[in-house]
């Protein structure tokens, strides 16, 4: 009797909703999925939960990844926004027209009139840049589900890999768990963190319950639970104990560092040439703790300590409004702390390269990725010492309590000293072991 070859099923729900820019979890799914698909030893199929029919359906994972690869891979020569390509030509043309005007006409044009025309031009290009970005995203959107989806059938001996936000889709997870009582497939559920259970105050109403139920089912149904840090593994084991589960099989697989080496650098308009600045990367949300940065920068002013501008880049998130409002309206930090949303990768890469150092005050992280990003760029970093942060930064980072503006200010002032910073950068260059996605995948592969 012949047996069917085993299949590795990968949940690609996260990528179905891709809109041209990968979020944190989408990036992880993408990096692992493309390596699994390229693995010659595996028969790989993708699946997702189809809400229309209430079932798990197959997805052409290779086709999906192909459609994404040309856009996700770092662009060697970006075409640039309209302002970059058209503005110099328009300016040259305007100068040429001005030069051809009769002298008496030129004499009647005041400087103020020229400034007005330039301001109108700048506004027009800002609109054009944004429109181009939206158009590009729309082009990138891959075909979602096929019109006639096939049911994803997991059989005994198969492996099912969940890497997405399964807590957002309890029906899908319940279906998988229910099927596991019928077929003995191996379920591998990647755990990023259990932060909503530890710090529910940083999330919207209802997430605590949804997340708790996801953790319960993940603990109950999974054969192995890879965790992205020792900190996450500790938290998961504590939750298992609290819920009276037998200790689950876990393993730590650290994520690969963000790859920005091939990304073209582009100076953002909000930074002047030669301006010294400190950089904070991360969404502007309560848990990321920009409030502490705001307090530390105010504390410095109170103590007469001159700090360079703090540039915070990240998309707006849950409970970030208060600090945004304070930063925008508090005259004492105006121009000394600025928040920027929708900053393209090329500009973030430039900011990383040109900042004095980075700061990351997050209260809790499954994996403090901005620390790895900073160290991979050879930049010193001051970070909170909570959760996974010390695992990421080792002894290369200046740590502080996420609840102490005083400690944060001390860490920042220490790194402002050029000798200290240089010494730290030399140590980073010498000691920091970059984490590659290949290494990370090889750990995951061993569990599949």
């Amino acid at each position: 009797m012949s047996t069917l070859p085993s299949v590795t099923w990968v949940d690609v729900s996260e990528l179905i909703g891709w809109r041209g820019h990968l979020t944190g979890i989408q990036r992880v799914v993408y990096e692992y999925a493309r390596r699994i698909v390229a693995d010659p030893a595996r028969d790989v199929r993708g699946f997702t939960f189809d809400f229309a029919i209430g079932d798990l359906v197959e997805v052409d994972i290779a086709g999906l990844l192909d459609a994404m690869s040309t856009e996700v891979a770092p662009a060697a020569a970006p075409t640039g926004p309209p302002s970059a390509t058209l503005a110099p030509r328009m300016l040259a043309l305007a100068k040429d027209v001005y030069d051809r005007l009769p002298a008496d006409v030129r004499g009647r044009i005041r400087d103020r009139d020229i400034q007005r025309v330039l301001a109108a031009g700048r506004l027009a290009f800002r609109v054009a840049d944004r429109t181009a970005r939206i158009a590009q995203s729309a082009r990138r959107r891959p075909a979602a589900l096929p019109p006639d989806p096939q049911r994803a059938t997991f059989l005994t001996g198969d492996t099912v890999l969940l890497m997405g936000r399964a807590w957002e889709n309890p029906q899908g997870f319940d279906l998988i768990a229910a099927r596991k009582t019928e077929e003995d497939f191996r379920l591998v559920t990647l755990i990023y963190d259990v932060v909503p259970l530890i710090h529910p105050e940083f999330f919207g109403p209802g997430l605590y319950e949804r997340y708790a139920n996801f953790v319960f089912e993940a603990l109950d149904s999974s054969d192995v639970l890879p965790c992205i840090s020792q900190s996450t593994e500790r938290d998961l084991l504590a939750a298992a104990r609290e819920l009276n589960f037998e200790p689950p099989t876990t393993s730590v697989i650290e994520l690969g560092d963000p790859q920005r080496s091939d990304v073209a650098r582009e100076q953002p308009r909000f930074v002047d040439d030669g301006e010294p600045f400190i950089l904070a990367i991360g969404s502007i949300e309560g848990r990321k703790n920009h409030q502490l940065l705001y307090q530390a920068w105010n504390l410095a002013r109170e103590r007469g300590i001159e700090l360079p501008r703090l540039i915070c880049v990240g998309s707006p998130g849950w409970l970030g409004n208060d600090v945004q409002y304070a930063v925008l309206n508090d005259p004492s930090v105006r121009g000394r702390m600025t928040l920027h949303h929708g900053v393209p990768d090329s500009e973030v890469a430039w900011l990383l390269e040109h900042c004095l150092f980075t700061v990351f005050p997050s209260v809790y992280e499954g994996w403090g990725l901005p620390i790895a990003e900073s160290l991979a760029a050879g930049k010193a970093c001051a970070a909170s010492r909570s959760s996974s942060m010390p695992e990421v930064g080792g002894d290369l980072v200046e740590y502080f309590s996420p609840y102490s503006a005083d400690e944060l200010l001390a860490a920042v002032t220490s790194l402002l000293d050029a000798d200290t910073r240089r010494a730290r950068e030399e140590r980073i260059a010498h000691d920091y072991q970059a984490r590659s996605w290949e290494q990370s995948y090889s750990r995951l592969r061993a569990l599949l």
Binding site: P200, A212, N213, D220
Partner: protein
């Protein structure tokens, strides 16, 4: 042949629509007396709105302001009713009329509380009836325990404990017969002065399952994807909830997929209300928990008939438990504490009975029972001892001898 005696049984609750353990016990005692004696009357004296739906014509239901005041006193109602009998002229007249018109040979107090209100009236009667003290628990020990659990302040708890001890002691000294549910209670009440102590443990009636209802219950289980479950049945009595939370818990990671803990009876509603939205265990409990709440007798029999195990997570309280008797007579496997088997000690070694007093061991036993083949167990004849007629025979004979 019935013995010619007029027996008056008094309690602080009705027995019409008997549902809680206490009500079922009094009803069984009244039924047993009616089998044995010529005239038996039960009268419940209680705040009307405490039992608005089920009552008998003979009951003395206290309404109006007085009833509302008693009701508002919560756990103190048991002593507020007898205090009202002493203080309220109308109520006192009503109770006196009952005693005068019925002319009981025996007044049987179910629990000691009403004696506090009646002993004066009894002394005024031309003929003094014999007194029977039917105890369910050692009240002066249990009551403070429950009140502390409900958050009453210590001075109130202490005052209540003192009062209850006083009346319990007086009744023990006065009663011609004191019935207890177990040997442990017998020892305590004997120390308080009880002279003729008889054992009358709680029991059950033998009940048949309703085939149609079993099929309906099985259908419900299939709909919920449950192939095996452990059943806990209890009334809305605070120790039932605390026992469940200590031994079974709402952290149900140890319950395998496709299995569940089913909680029936008033304790289910109590459990549901107690679930906290900020507790990891509580918010995930319904992954493996079915709160059936109050169910019909037929459904309870169906639930018992299909249970992989019946749970007796009793950690406090005196007396014996009806739920223990029900579990034993059901013939299903049992996981229980040794406290649950107080007064049924000889049944602890029956086949299919697992005793676990350590919470972790209790849960491990539940997990084993859920995955074990669900076979009915043949209980030996000793299990018949839990039927009411056997449990109450000594009490009936002691009263007959008065």
């Amino acid at each position: 042949m019935k013995t010619a005696k007029r027996i008056l049984v008094l309690s602080t609750y009705p027995i019409a629509g008997a549902n809680s353990g206490g009500q079922l016990r009094v009803k069984a005692i009244v039924d047993a007396y009616r089998e044995a004696f010529t005239e038996v009357k039960h009268v419940g004296i209680y705040a009307r709105d405490n039992y608005p739906y089920h009552f008998a014509a003979d009951d003395i239901r206290i309404g109006g302001e007085l009833g509302a005041k008693i009701l508002a006193d919560g756990m103190m109602a048991d002593v507020r009713v007898p205090e009202a009998i002493v203080a309220d002229a109308d109520l006192r007249a009503q109770v006196r009329e009952l005693l005068v018109s019925f002319r009981p040979d025996v007044v049987a107090f179910e629990q000691p509380y009403l004696y506090l209100g009646l002993h004066g009236l009894l002394n005024e009667l031309p003929v003094r009836p014999q007194i029977v003290h039917s105890s369910q628990n050692v009240e002066h020990l249990l009551k403070p325990e429950i009140m502390r659990g409900l958050g009453y302040s210590e001075p109130i708890v202490e005052a209540m404990a003192g009062l209850v001890r006083e009346v319990e002691t007086e009744l023990c000294a006065t009663a011609a017969v004191t019935a207890v549910v177990g040997p442990a209670d017998a020892a305590v009440l004997a120390e308080l002065g009880a002279s003729r102590v008889v054992l009358a443990p709680n029991g059950v009636s033998r009940k048949e399952t309703d085939r149609e209802d079993v099929l309906a219950w099985e259908h419900e289980l299939r709909t919920r994807g449950i192939s095996s479950y452990a059943l806990f049945v209890g009334s809305a009595h605070p120790p039932n909830l605390s026992g469940f939370r200590t031994m079974v818990t709402t952290a149900l990671g140890y319950v395998p997929r496709g299995s569940a803990i089913v909680v029936a009876g008033g304790v289910g509603d109590m459990l549901q209300r107690s679930l906290r939205g900020d507790s990891l265990a509580d918010v995930t409990a319904h992954r493996r928990l079915v709160v059936a709440g109050r169910v019909s007798d037929a459904r309870l029999q169906s639930m018992l008939a299909r249970a992989a195990a019946v749970l007796l997570p009793i950690t406090e309280g005196g007396g014996s438990n009806l739920k223990t008797a029900k579990a034993v007579i059901s013939g299903r496997p049992i996981v229980g504490t040794s406290i649950a088997f107080r007064a049924f000690e000889e049944l602890m070694s029956l086949p299919g009975v697992t005793i676990a007093d350590d919470p972790a061991a209790f849960r491990a036993a539940v997990a084993r029972a859920l995955v074990a083949p669900s076979l009915g167990l043949e209980r030996p004849a000793v299990a018949e001892s839990v039927l009411w007629e056997n449990c109450l025979s000594d009490l009936v004979e002691a009263v007959r001898a008065l």
